[in-house]
């Protein structure tokens, strides 16, 4: 469905040191710098796949999405979505895709979302009954019936994002480019938006490409991830495989009913977090069963759980100490 070959994008940006004097100097003589946002990025995405773009801030994720949706021209390399070159902006192509941006909105600020929906219906030349049926279906799924008649500016961030999704999906696109669709939303709203995206993908077979600040989004939605760092593609594949490769260990979190004897914990594994009545151990995957058995036998355990290490940590390590996606963790 999507095919990118040796994609490069270079921006020319104006740079100057801070200070008034430098600002005045830059009025007369401007210094420009070439910034490579993407460099030789190639990948293929099959129809119906859900793929996550990961990488630190400024890695080139959004640039990639904008090239795929035809907004930006690549400096070199080629890209096709379906049978189309996005930059041609063919009507059939634009009917096929949608781009949702968590940081920008298409809803008309002073008018109710229903007005934006009506406008999109006209823009995409959708038959009225078909558009009405889609709108009703989306509105019911997202439970925003009472909201679509209220002026957009009176809606909360989460409510606005749900309305954005309806506006973006009214024409039933087959390829979804989602650029941080859950940014700023609370945990339960994030989960609902995620759930909605998954259901849309499963019921329509649409291809989904997602970037997100929240690793949980990517972990929950995308079996495959493409990691971009400083414009280069550094990993393309299964998220769990990447996790196991970087951190082939499990986390055992234990709660104690009383203080464990000193030294007992260290014998079980590497202690990565510790408070008075709680401890987390990092244990190689193969030794987990043994470690749990030993812990239950030797320590005053009231509760115990085994989990994978947090994805943020894995990505941080993978990207050489940079916080993944700005290192923002969901609560």
């Amino acid at each position: 469905m999507i095919r990118a070959r040796k994609l490069c994008k270079t921006y020319r940006v104006h740079r100057r040191p801070p200070g008034l004097l430098e600002a005045l100097r830059s009025v007369v003589r401007r210094r420009y710098e070439e910034v490579r946002a993407l460099c030789d990025v190639s990948f293929d995405i099959a129809p119906g796949e859900r793929v996550g773009f990961l990488g630190p801030n400024g890695a080139g994720k959004t640039t990639a999405l904008k090239i795929l949706s035809g907004l930006l021209y690549p400096t070199s390399g080629s890209v096709t979505v379906g049978d189309f070159v996005p930059q041609d902006r063919r009507t059939e192509f634009l009917h096929m895709i949608t781009l949702v941006m968590g940081q920008k909105q298409q809803l008309l600020w002073d008018l109710p979302p229903a007005e934006t929906f009506a406008m999109n219906r006209a823009l995409f030349d959708l038959p009225r009954d078909e558009a009405d049926a889609t709108q009703k279906e989306l509105v019911d799924l997202l439970e925003i019936g009472p909201l679509i008649g209220k002026p957009t500016r009176q809606l909360s961030l989460g409510e606005r994002m749900k309305c954005e999704l309806v506006a973006a999906l009214l024409h039933r696109p087959r390829v979804l480019f989602l650029d941080e669709p859950t940014i700023g939303l609370d945990v339960s709203m994030q989960a609902r938006v995620r759930d909605f995206i998954r259901r849309y993908n499963e019921s329509t077979g649409a291809t989904v490409l997602l970037t997100s600040h929240y690793m949980e989004d990517v972990a929950a939605l995308c079996p495959r991830v493409i990691v971009i760092d400083k414009g280069h593609l550094v990993y393309d594949g299964d998220l769990r495989t990447l996790a196991r490769r970087i951190r082939p260990e499990k986390r055992i979190t234990m709660h104690f009913s009383s203080l464990p004897a000193p030294g007992e914990l260290d014998r079980l594994g590497n202690c990565v977090a510790r408070s008075e009545l709680q401890a987390t151990l990092a244990v190689p995957a193969a030794q987990v069963t043994e470690a749990v058995r030993a812990a239950l036998g030797r320590l005053p355990i009231s509760d115990i759980s085994v989990e994978d290490p947090p994805l943020e940590e894995i990505m941080q390590e993978f990207l050489g100490g940079q916080p993944a996606n700005g290192g923002v963790r969901s609560a």
Partner: protein
């Protein structure tokens, strides 16, 4: 045919949205309407001052110059009501990156940005300007001849094309330099010179206002046509000029889209 119907419907929806936006805030709606009439009255002051001291300027009598002013005001009301709001919409869209959403819609981007916003209360301005024109011909003591009126209306079309093409060129610049608020002020300030007949200007300025920023083609020629004073050569020049500007504007716009860098997320 289906395409034409699609665009007609789009235009209707865009106009409906602008009207809905305009009436969303009632106070603002009435205030803008009143302001529109106030500015029309202000437009007449320089002319009244000049003609209070002399009978004619550069061969133009007061009622004749009033035809130019009336014509200028008609165009200005179209500019303020139909062109500038969309210009501001695009300039802001380029700066904030929200133009992304326009470019993602399956319709001609130039059409979409050109029809993005209207200010419906400018219709008052428009009607007031027509009243000025009617008064000018009343002072002249005769109505324009049918043939002259036809040429005048045709040149009105040419003037609109010119105005719109110049505006597209300004917008195209915004793709490259991003912030063009001052450029649009400059555009409006230069356009203001169109209230005077072209004969008032001499030398280089006259050439500039005929060829580079064709104010003459926009206001003086149509006014001359209404007064029955325009030669067919000049009418032809205006028509050709309009088409040339439209072609250049379309070409530049297409090129400018490639330079659109969006705004970062």
């Amino acid at each position: 045919m289906r395409r034409l119907r699609h665009y007609a419907r789009l235009l209707a929806v865009q106009m409906r949205t602008s009207l809905t936006l305009a009436v969303q805030y009632r106070f603002d709606f009435f205030l803008e309407g009143a302001l529109a009439l106030f500015w029309l009255a202000i437009t007449l002051i320089p002319l009244l001052v000049v003609y209070s001291r002399r009978e004619s300027v550069a061969g133009w009598s007061f009622p004749e110059a009033l035809v130019v002013v009336g014509w200028f005001s008609v165009l200005k009301s179209v500019l303020d009501g139909g062109v500038t709001p969309s210009l501001n919409f695009v300039v802001e869209g380029v700066r904030k990156g929200t133009l992304d959403f326009v470019l993602l819609k399956p319709a001609d981007a130039q059409f979409l940005v050109s029809t993005a916003r209207f200010e419906p209360w400018r219709i008052l301005d428009f009607l007031g300007s027509i009243a000025v024109l009617v008064y000018a011909f009343h002072r002249l003591g005769h109505a324009p001849r049918a043939g002259d009126l036809m040429v005048g209306l045709a040149l009105f079309g040419v003037a609109l094309i010119l105005l719109y093409s110049l505006w597209i060129l300004v917008v195209s610049v915004s793709f490259r330099v991003v912030k063009v608020d001052n450029l649009s002020y400059l555009f409006i300030s230069i356009f203001d010179a169109g209230r005077w007949p072209i004969d008032v200007f001499k030398g280089a300025l006259r050439l500039i206002f005929t060829v580079v920023f064709p104010l003459a083609l926009m206001t003086t020629y149509p006014a001359q046509a209404l007064l029955g004073k325009l030669t067919s050569a000049h009418a032809l020049l205006a028509g050709t000029g309009g088409l040339a500007f439209a072609a250049i504007a379309r070409f530049v716009w297409k090129r400018a889209l490639r330079a659109y860098t969006s705004a970062s997320s």
